[in-house]
């Protein structure tokens, strides 16, 4: 019988701890599919961050290190500089990448560090139970913005792709989403392209994935997908923000 669907080899055959309907499952799969299709599993090293995806080191079937909160791009830099032929990626959430780790994010991008950053933006701190994130939308109700994010008091969300695309360092920056089959397929293509750029030694790439957090948003998975589509994507427009090599055509 022909196999029509199977687990990517670079994803471990273990139960994941993610909540039902969480976007991480889809995104893990897309990363693993990219690794499989490029045949780089044996030389890939992943860097897990702090947040819901902290246990990513148990899920990706590649060598993994767990970094302190926000520091994954610095750790990835060390791994890459030690063994430049390894393919190195970080997997970070919005609190990790866009709040506590902003300096490491900006400077690894500015250096054009030849690593791939997978940035999962679900506009909330998931692991600690639903606090306001740097990417929480204006008016968004969270545990620490119970009356809605008041931009007068706490400022505006951080738009990472827009910010980083102003730098000369990065090779490739794209924002994708997982709210529909079409978008999931596009996200998979972007992630694969990011890894391909690294294999080709083209430099820093970051893929921001607009994701969902049904548990902390207080919605069903289906409604969360709808909410992401109607609220997040308009604020965080999808698309390629920088492609150093496309520009040079």
């Amino acid at each position: 019988m022909a196999t029509v669907f199977e687990r990517p080899h670079s994803l471990c055959d273990v139960p994941m701890h993610y909540c039902p309907g969480c976007g991480h499952g889809i995104i893990h799969r897309l990363v693993a599919e990219a690794i499989d299709s490029l045949g780089i599993e044996g030389k890939t090293v992943g860097v897990a961050s702090v947040g819901c995806s902290v246990f990513a080191y148990n899920y990706f079937n590649v060598d993994m290190v767990q970094a302190a909160h926000g520091r994954a791009p610095a750790v990835a830099t060390g791994v890459k500089r030690a063994n430049p032929d390894n393919i190195v990626f970080t997997y970070q959430g919005d609190g990790d990448l866009a709040a506590i780790g902003t300096a490491e994010t900006v400077h690894s991008a500015a250096r054009g560090e030849n690593i791939t950053v997978i940035f999962v933006n679900n506009a909330i701190y998931g692991m600690t139970g639903g606090q306001m994130a740097p990417t929480s939308l204006p008016g968004q109700v969270t545990q620490t913005s119970p009356y809605g994010r008041d931009v007068e008091a706490v400022g505006f969300p951080v738009k990472i792709c827009e910010m980083l695309s102003q730098l000369d360092g990065p090779a490739y920056i794209e924002r994708v989403a997982i709210n529909s089959v079409k978008n999931i397929r596009a996200a998979g293509r972007a992630i694969k392209k990011a890894f391909t750029y690294q294999v080709e030694k083209k430099g820093f790439s970051l893929i921001e994935v607009v994701s969902t957090c049904p548990t902390n948003w207080g919605m069903t998975p289906e409604k969360a997908m709808k909410w992401a589509e109607e609220n997040m994507i308009p604020y965080y427009p999808l698309g390629v923000y920088r492609d150093k090599y496309a520009e040079k055509k």
């Binding site: 060390g78 063994n83 390894n86």
Partner: protein, 356 residues
């Protein structure tokens, strides 16, 4: 080829690191250790190594974590305020069992403090500095020669015990010039099967991690780590003694303080006072047994420090408070003079002569 050259302490550290195979340096400028970074910036590109100036001390130590995870010899260096910033990363390294060298060329504190020599990071270095139950191997050089020697030794120990090792120097040691003989490491290369080099599709994936949400597992990790620490306390203690055999008064000091103390001990001997000097070279593990042995014959101890009195606690603990211990110290970038240490010795002698 080993050859004697005149070098600054900071440069001796850098060259010694290169001589024993360190090809990765990550740092951030801070006085009085910046010569290490400058030296690495010059040398590393010429020998196929990596020098990278990080955006912060925090990023630098995390780059060290990455490179150590990948299995290479790697180091960073900083001075007191910068080491505070690195402390989070150092705790992670201890929790992840990662070997690397961290150099602290201490300056006066707290806060931004000053840029002159100090030893006031003794507690930070020997008690951990970061969060959690852990130790660093802490080595304290007292000459430019030792800056080089102990750098090599630190890398060897770090690899042997799979833990971070700190060279605790001070601004004087970093800035002064002395002839130094650069020697190569005699320790064999340590295999690192745990390193993250990619599975090569040939083995299970390696994971480097300090997290466990299972309390009994995390407890076991801690207990196992402390078993390793016990072996270190047994096997790796280093110290120097000078005229201690018949000494009534033992002056304890490390680094630059020990050099001052040695002069004061000589002066005291000329005055007929039986003084000796005890210099811990490993600050953790502290040479407590050797010092305790001295307390069986010596009648009084003096702790000479460039701090408000930090090592003195280890001296008191080591001798089990069986003898009086006084403090002779200057802080804020000041260094006790031989005359000041001699005055402390003479005062202790007076007290001894005056009976209990």
């Amino acid at each position: 080829m080993a050859q004697k050259v005149l070098m600054k302490g900071n440069e001796a550290i850098a060259e010694a690191a290169i001589s024993c195979g360190c090809r990765h340096y990550f740092g951030y400028p801070i006085t009085p250790q910046t010569e290490i970074a400058a030296y690495m910036a010059k040398r590393m590109p010429k020998i196929g190594g990596t020098f990278l100036q990080a955006e912060s001390e925090i990023a630098a130590i995390n780059m060290v974590i990455g490179a150590a995870s990948a299995g290479v010899r790697v180091m960073t260096s900083s001075s007191s305020p910068g080491v505070s910033l690195k402390s989070e990363g150092i705790s992670y390294m201890a929790g992840c069992d990662l070997p690397a060298l961290i150099v602290n060329v201490q300056r006066g504190g707290p806060g931004l403090g000053g840029i002159q020599p100090s030893q006031s990071d003794y507690f930070q270095a020997t008690r951990g500095g970061g969060h959690g139950d852990y130790h660093l191997l802490v080595l304290a050089p007292a000459s430019v020669q030792e800056m080089a020697q102990l750098t090599v030794h630190a890398f060897d120990l770090a690899d042997k015990y799979r833990m971070p090792c700190m060279l605790l120097a001070d601004g004087t040691m970093g800035q002064m010039m002395e002839p130094v003989l650069l020697e190569e490491s005699t320790a064999g290369k340590v295999e690192k099967p745990w390193a993250l080099t990619g599975t090569g599709m040939k083995r299970k994936h390696n994971i480097i991690n300090s997290l466990s949400l299972t309390p009994d597992e995390l407890e076991r990790w801690n207990i196992d780590r402390f078993k390793r620490y016990e072996a270190i306390e047994r096997d790796e203690v280093m110290y120097e003694e000078y005229l201690c055999d018949d000494a009534d008064i033992v002056v304890v000091g490390f680094g630059i303080a020990a050099r001052v103390a040695k002069n004061a001990v000589k002066a005291a001997r000329e005055k007929g006072v039986k003084a000796g000097m005890f210099r811990p070279i490993t600050l953790w593990p502290f040479p407590k047994n050797a010092l305790y042995e001295r307390s069986k014959t010596a009648k009084a101890f003096i702790s000479v420090e460039l701090s408000m009195g930090q090592m003195i606690e280890d001296v008191e603990l080591a001798i089990r408070c069986s003898r009086p211990v006084t403090l002779c110290s200057r802080v804020g970038g000041m260094i006790p003079s031989p005359a000041e240490v001699l005055a402390s010795i003479m005062a202790a002698d007076e007290k001894l002569k005056g009976g209990k």
